[in-house]
Amino acid sequence: MLRTALAGLRAHRLRLLLTALAITLGVGFIAGTFVLNDTVQAGYDQRVTADAAKVDVAVLPKGPDAVLPERLLERIRALDGVTEAQGLIRAPAPVLGKDGKTAGNAPTTALSIVPGPLDRTDIVEGTGPGTDDQAAVLDENTAKAQGFRPGDTITVLDARQREHRFRLVGLLDPGVDQELSYTGAVGFTAATAQRMTGAKGYREIDVAGTAPGLKQAVAAAAGGAYVVKTGGELATDLARAAGVETEMLTLGLLMFGLVAMMVAALVIYNTFNILVAQRTREMALLRCVGATRGQVFGSILLESSVVGVLASALGLLVGYGLASLTLTVLAAVDAPLPTDAAVTLTPVTIAAGLAVGVVVTLGAAVLPARSATRVAPIAALRTQAEEQTFRAGVVRAVLAGLFLLAGLGTAAAGVFVLPPGQQVSLVVVMAGGALTFLAVLILGPVLVRPLSALVGWIPARLFGVPGRLAVGNSGRNPRRAATTTVALTIGVTLMTLISVVTASTRQTMTVKLDEQFPIDYALSSQRLDAVIPRSVATELRGRPELSSVVQLREARVTVAGRRLGVGTYAGPIEPSLTAGSMKGLGPGQAAVDDDLGFGLGTAIQVRTPEAGTVRLKVVALFDSAESPLPQVTVAEGAFDTYFGAIPDTRVLINIRDGVPPARARAVVDAAVAAYPTVRVASSTEIRGQFDETLDMLLMVITGLLGLAILISLLGIANTLSLSVHERTRESALLRALGLTRAQLRRMLSVEALVLGLIGALVGVVLGVAFGWAAIMAMLDGAVFSAPVGQIALFVALSGVAGVLAAVLPARRAARASIVGALATS
């Protein structure tokens, strides 16, 4: 039987090649993800290990905002066996760009660069500050973005917003530090860093020493209030922290890999099914000459496992190449990931890739193999393989109905019953989607014929006889057509769903921005600190170009045991209240965010710097999604009593109707020109940034789903070429009756077009429906929007892709000689 199975493999090389390609692509993607993850992780390890090798013991504070006192450093320095100890400062110090405004979206992080062997900074150009208190280094990305070169003078704000000038002497690479990559970094001598940030202590104390038991000695000196680690432990922890994001990314990518494998499984299932159907006589002959059912079953499985192993092995190579390519691209665009580690296929990757590939292939071939065992020996004697007939059974209808009901019911519960904006609602909706998809899968063969008549309506009229024959052929073997198109449906459903969700998110945000925050400009600092002098708002109120100016000021203090923003506002705001009234809000009263859970009439304790702990009575609750108020809002006068006359945190500005935005913008810019930390954001800019992020996300996801689509196209090509093979004599007959080669090719193209369109149509319906459900479950007050252009594009591309998939099968069909084809039985 082994020999028979291998001969079968050889005979069906081309068809199995297409199948193998489906597996190769899926395994390649999964293996590539693993390789990428391993390489990046290895890169982190390398860097972190090299860094941490310099440190023998490190002392860290407990908690993200805590620091290590100066005294501790002195105590450690005094310990026996400590050759060197340095404290590291790390705190915000905004660098100003060439426009005189704070650079970037977050304040730059100032670092102390210590002299001697404990220095872990990676200076890539120029030098470090050394002992020069007037020198500074910047990270590469900030320097590039702001156009600074070593030798330039840069301006940095200290903790009290005063400007200081430094000579830029070098550039540093923030390495794998995610925080520094985001904020940017500016390095000073330890003394300057302390002076600029006003830091009250160190974020880390590094110790070098040779004495045995150094960690214990340092731990004893530090006491229980701090964390003490060896250099090795520090490296492990740093690498793990850096790798967490990579792991999330890996998980995300693996999801797409799984979708691809699912599609590949459908393609394989279909191919083996058709191969078995075509080899009915061969199977029957084997049974006639004495093969048992088990042997027939085994030979099919053996065939599939050989295909699975070969394709998966190839997939591993593809994955390796894919990962190398991705790393090259990432390195070229300066992604904040280590890309320099050696790319390796680890045994785990190899095992996982092979296992996934072989298991999926074997699993998909089990059902076809089982149906091969049902072939009766007598079938060998029948001349004509009979067409597979299909009748919609009662069981199928009932099963599909149940799944459909369960799916729609679950999704409806997620949308209408569960509260929107909660993760559980989305999960429930997605579960409903999965159930509905199963219903469609079961119902597929029933749907194919009516759908092919529907989408084939135009092609049948447009392409004459070939068109009509093609539409008839597309619904001829409903089970096969359904499996072929469902593979495509998966990809199109997900793509449509994602594009509906992004479009609806965009629409919802736009509507919310327009209706609830009709603001043209907002003034704020990078960290929403209270830094806007009240005079700015006063000045702006006097300008005729502006119609309204709202001041908001806020302080973060402890309220009933929680850190909350307590603040006030001045200017025309209509808070959207859910309970109570803010009319005549007086001292001792507050309006609070209804999400906080304080009831109307309760008293809350607020610790204030100027008036000690005060009791506030809740007189109103507001909806924070619709009102830009501080979480706990008090009257303006009362706020000053509690917190002093602090500056504004935010100023919201509207342009008077008819004033050109450019003129209004000039007025606003002029008013804040003297305050480098105050940044002007326009709603169109905010929207633009938001749009860019969404577009980027959509592009990446669509690209990743493209793989699933590609695999499903292999499925279409495979099904078509098998159909062409089955209909060799039919094609010859048509040619004899006067169908030209071009018409025969067109007939197959139209058939593929119809298959592609059916898959796309079902996908679009499911995608739009569940996109709607998903967005309703995800966002409170969501506005549905279907990007008709995009969806039409998906449908059109599916059709075109189907036609492309038909090119080779159609060529083969048209090339066949009529006499030869008529002779084959």
């Binding site: 004509q384 024959l469 048509l734 040619r735 009756l737 030209t740 009529i818």
Partner: protein
């Protein structure tokens, strides 16, 4: 032995001159046809006979423009087939030639009527409705027109195939073992129907067969052996055909 076939007064529907067909190369060369000269009269029912491997199917394929010839010429009416492009040949088949094959004559997705009208639709021609009605009457399939091939008997399927060949009024119909898969009663039905269409519609039919009874329905039978035309008989009976065959085999 080579013989010249006498021409009937009306111009022949199909003429082959010095027709040769060679398959393969070198030692594997097979001469399927060796300088065959033959013509088939318009409005006549002719049969081509011969033992297995005599080249009768190859001859039909070459005459019908389904296969290319190695040398010699073929004319259908006044058109020379040899040297025509695939496209021109396809057009010629559409307009001038009808086919009835041994099996697999019909498209399983189409009804009997759709199958019958298929050649006209491929050629984008209007059906001649009186002719259609007459053909349907003669074939006796009026009540089966809406059925698909899988719902028809073998004999009915072949009758549909003959109707399809007749409907476009081709210059010649080539029938390749049209009764090969039928029981004798259905076979007789199809053969009488073929003969009726020659008598009443003036159709020209060239039939390849190895069955002496089938050949006896024809007006004239030509015999092939080893790719050569060896003899012919007019007004055949099963007995005369069988005798000639036995002589050939000897």
């Amino acid at each position: 032995m080579r013989m010249n076939v006498t021409l009937t007064p009306a111009p022949p529907a199909v003429v082959a001159r010095d027709l040769s067909k060679v398959y393969g190369q070198g030692d594997a060369q097979v001469h399927a046809l060796r300088s065959v000269n033959v013509s088939f009269a318009t409005g006549a029912f002719s049969a081509i006979m011969g033992p297995s491997g005599s080249g009768k199917s190859t001859l039909m394929h070459c005459l019908a423009g389904l296969d290319t010839v190695t040398s010699g010429t073929v004319h259908i009416g006044d058109v020379e087939l040899t040297g025509l492009s695939d496209r021109r040949l396809t057009m010629l088949r559409r307009e001038r030639i009808g086919f009835v094959f041994q099996a697999f004559n019909l498209l399983p997705t189409l009804t009997a009527e759709q199958n019958i009208r298929l050649p006209l639709e491929i050629a984008a021609r209007q059906a001649d409705q009186p002719l259609f009605d007459r053909v349907i009457e003669t074939v006796g399939l009026r009540d089966r027109l809406g059925h698909r091939p899988s719902e028809l008997s073998g004999g009915q399927q072949q009758r549909v195939a003959v109707a399809r060949a007749l409907i476009s009024k081709p210059q010649v119909i080539f029938a390749d073992e049209p009764t090969g898969n039928l029981d004798s009663r259905s076979g007789a039905e199809v053969l009488s129907f073929l003969r009726t269409s020659v008598r009443e519609l003036g159709q020209t039919i060239v039939m390849v067969t190895h069955d002496p009874v089938a050949a006896s329905y024809a007006d004239r039978v030509v015999f092939l052996r080893d790719g050569e035309l060896v003899t012919e008989i007019a007004a055949p009976t099963p007995q005369t055909v069988l005798d000639t065959l036995v002589k050939l085999e000897a």
